[in-house]
Symmetry: C2
Subunit: 209 residues, 2 copies
């Protein structure tokens, strides 16, 4: 048996949706609450049971229909404050990154392992797939808010490394509201390592000599 | 950047299905191949986009409709040989455990972390959710094959600890055949730990004294 994971919780500062019907914009805007179905956040551009493989899943041919495990994007206010500091700007808004949820109070959010669950008070439960690796698009959104500063877009990728939050999918439908308390449950810790390879005879002899 | 995971592969000794229409039996039987959809293995009793929460998910009220991430059960022939040895019987068949896939050649299969992908030659791709913890039912199936030996059912739970394989779900549909080569891709390694808590002044003084 493994030791129980520490109990973690936080609260939800913001719920955000991207509702551009033409899917040309990825930035999100704040809403007071969202209905959560097995497809994702109702009305958000990333909702769906499946998605088309893209640059995030280079092990599939581009355009392959695969299960959508990137329904929802989650960021940490504390991490975004660190990103802003590293970029030399006052703040980085969750909406500029196209995030759906902005949490406060969960330490090292982006480091939570795959399989971590987020429980919300009104039944909705999300499972985290993994880190959302920074790309240049949010950097461009940030740049658009600071036309006087040069090179912010490319600086974002470095500044946001391991601080850009997580993506995940809906395990249980429900309702999520801004201000909700959020309970975080880590999966059992696992470490995979290959069994030690047998040392070849020649190498053993060298070790002895 | 993290170091790339070692490349792992194995092959598929058996494909098995549980097709009891009344869902009274959980043991599986060998088939030459299986069609794989987003619901799981076509015709298997565990197929479905959703499932009802049970003893495996005690954080949900029993019977809650949740996403089905236990569509498929995967075991390792090498691990089952170890289980049989620990139980003092000649072999433990994958079918007795209700497994759907029996792999050969993937070391320490049950320890593969959540998010591990199994790629098959004809497009099907599975993602592992995590360990399938042993319960007493497969032990009873084993006992039925050895009516002369007493107490096998309860010994199974101990003998199969961390050797009972994994459960997972379909990321990409396709076809899986007995004898297929299987490519295994580990997710990026992650270790989550809480930041060190600031030491209270009183405790610091004790440490100094």
């Amino acid at each position: 048996m493994t030791a129980p994971a520490p109990s973690l919780s936080g609260h939800l500062a913001n719920v955000l949706l991207c509702t551009d019907p033409e899917k040309k914009r990825f930035v999100t805007r704040e809403v007071p609450e969202v209905q959560v179905s097995f497809e994702g956040f109702v009305g958000d551009r990333h909702a769906g049971l499946t998605r088309l493989a893209d640059v995030r899943t280079p092990w599939f041919p581009r355009g392959t229909v695969v299960r959508n495990t990137r329904q929802v994007s989650v960021v940490s206010r504390e991490e975004l404050t660190e990103v802003a500091h590293a970029m030399g700007i006052p703040h980085v808004m969750a909406s500029w990154l196209g995030a759906n949820l902005e949490l406060v109070g969960v330490p090292r959010l982006t480091h939570l392992p795959p399989g971590t669950r987020l429980f919300f008070p009104e039944e909705a439960t999300l499972v985290m797939e993994g880190e959302n690796q920074p790309c240049i698009h949010p950097g461009r959104a940030i740049e658009a808010h600071h036309p006087d500063l040069k090179g912010l877009a490319s600086r974002f990728v470095k500044a946001a490394w391991q601080k850009r939050g997580l993506v995940g999918w809906v395990e249980r439908p429900g309702l999520i509201r801004a201000g909700d308390e959020v309970r975080v449950m880590l999966p059992p810790p696992v470490t995979y390592s290959l069994p030690a390879a047998p040392v070849p005879v020649a190498a053993r002899q060298e070790q002895v000599a």
